[in-house]
Symmetry: C2
Subunit: 234 residues, 2 copies
DNA sequence: CCATATAATGACCACCTGGTCACTGACCGG
DNA sequence: CCGGTCAGTGACCAGGTGGTCATTATATGG
């Protein structure tokens, strides 16, 4: 659960080196496939020491993991504060871009998260995913509620379904940024900031207005008459 | 690449037993963590036999994999045929539910797919994901184009972004059905058919109309006259 | 300078992995 | 009944795993 006193008494640079190597290993290989031998080789300490510090591979992971949770929590709080009085769609847009920023700042942490979702044999997987779920729900639901209250969102929305859609899309946006082949040709994968901004704006616009032709009056163009012929074909 | 002649000459029930055990093992453990020893134990044949049939663990996986691709391809073709003359949103709704049906029919195949996305060390990962990407693009893009042509979709849509959104949401809908904690409280995970139908309908409605309050006139259906006033504002 | 407490070490353990190959025994044509 | 073919076998291999612990090195205090 917690690094031993012996570990805490180490000088800071050594502690950093150790944790850094561990994060690296877990982010590349997930839990099971991560190798304690490789870690100690890279760090340059004896294997026995690692086990003295953390008890087991799982204990080591636990430490890394708690640290990651703290990072995420802190980041979420900050974004929420920064956007609290903005329009609903602006909040979503900014939150998405904040997610991108987080990934850029902590790419390995995000990779560990991805591994965790889809690898059955992570320790604490269930508890962890439960936490992420709570994060997401606790983060998005109030935003949706506020959006309805502010009059940004249709009041007849099903909150749960709305949260699901937002969660799904924001999550996928982030995944598409760092997992190849997940962006379905939208060129989000490792895109430049400017492109990401544009994509995020597009995506939020679509959230707002949907994909369907406006039911009534889309004054946009020419000959409004033809656009409103009752029959479906043109 | 291909099972040896020796394997093909086995009687059908034995072949099935072998492939079935392999699919099971891969779907539970992914590639790396899958154990050939466990497979042969379960099947009740000697380890040497498996290697005689498939050459290597990777060769065995290749056979499983090709079979899976064929299943998916077939399923996609069928859905496309069945829905070809429906309204855009109806096509999306039906496609999503067809996805659910596929997962119910081939849960292990879907699990292998999920593992593959997020596990770096799958053999052929890149080629495979490329294929899935093509499937998705080739499947959705024509539907979007047809939707615009039919007048179901706003003609000003960015096709790539639209495909991305659809892909993201449909994929997540399916994931939420079979991975816990991914449905953000929408109760899609292992839901009953009736609930799924309702959720799919809701989700398609949101795609159509978006979440934002309608810009102008939300006269809720009455007075059809107002629906076709030529001028932009009401 | 020694005695003691404490931390670092790496050889070692049991176990598991994918893969090999000399052997076995069933079958078949002559 | 023989010789030959051939699929099936499982003991065996080298290499890796997480984890242990007797031994050694280092620091501390009297």
């Amino acid at each position: 659960m917690v690094p031993s006193d012996i570990f805490n008494k180490l000088d800071e640079s050594k502690k950093t080196r150790i944790l850094d190597a561990a994060v690296d290993e877990f982010s590349i290989h997930g839990f099971r496939q991560a190798s304690v031998n490789r870690m100690v080789d890279r760090i340059g300490i004896a294997k026995g020491s690692l086990f003295q510090y953390f008890g087991s591979k799982e204990g080591l992971f636990h430490v890394i993991f708690n640290h990651a949770v703290e990072l995420v929590r802190h980041s979420l709080r900050q974004v929420k504060r920064e956007t609290s009085d903005a329009d609903f769609f602006e909040r979503i847009r900014k939150s998405t871009l904040a997610g991108i920023r987080f990934i850029k700042g902590h790419p390995r942490v995000y990779r560990i998260y991805l591994k965790m979702i889809f690898q059955e044999d992570f320790p604490l997987r269930a508890e962890f995913l439960q936490q992420v779920h709570l994060f997401s729900a606790e983060y998005l639901r109030p935003i949706v509620r506020a959006g309805i209250a502010r009059g940004d969102l249709r009041p007849d929305l099903d909150t749960e379904m709305t949260v699901f859609l937002l969660d799904a899309l924001m999550d996928r946006f982030l995944q598409a940024y760092c997992v190849p082949f997940l962006d379905a040709g939208a060129h989000i994968y490792q895109a430049e900031d400017a492109d990401l901004e544009r994509r995020a704006a597009q995506f939020v616009d679509m959230l707002r207005s949907g994909m369907g032709v406006p039911k009534k009056d889309n004054g946009a163009g020419l000959e409004p008459a033809t656009m409103c012929t009752g029959d479906g074909n043109v």
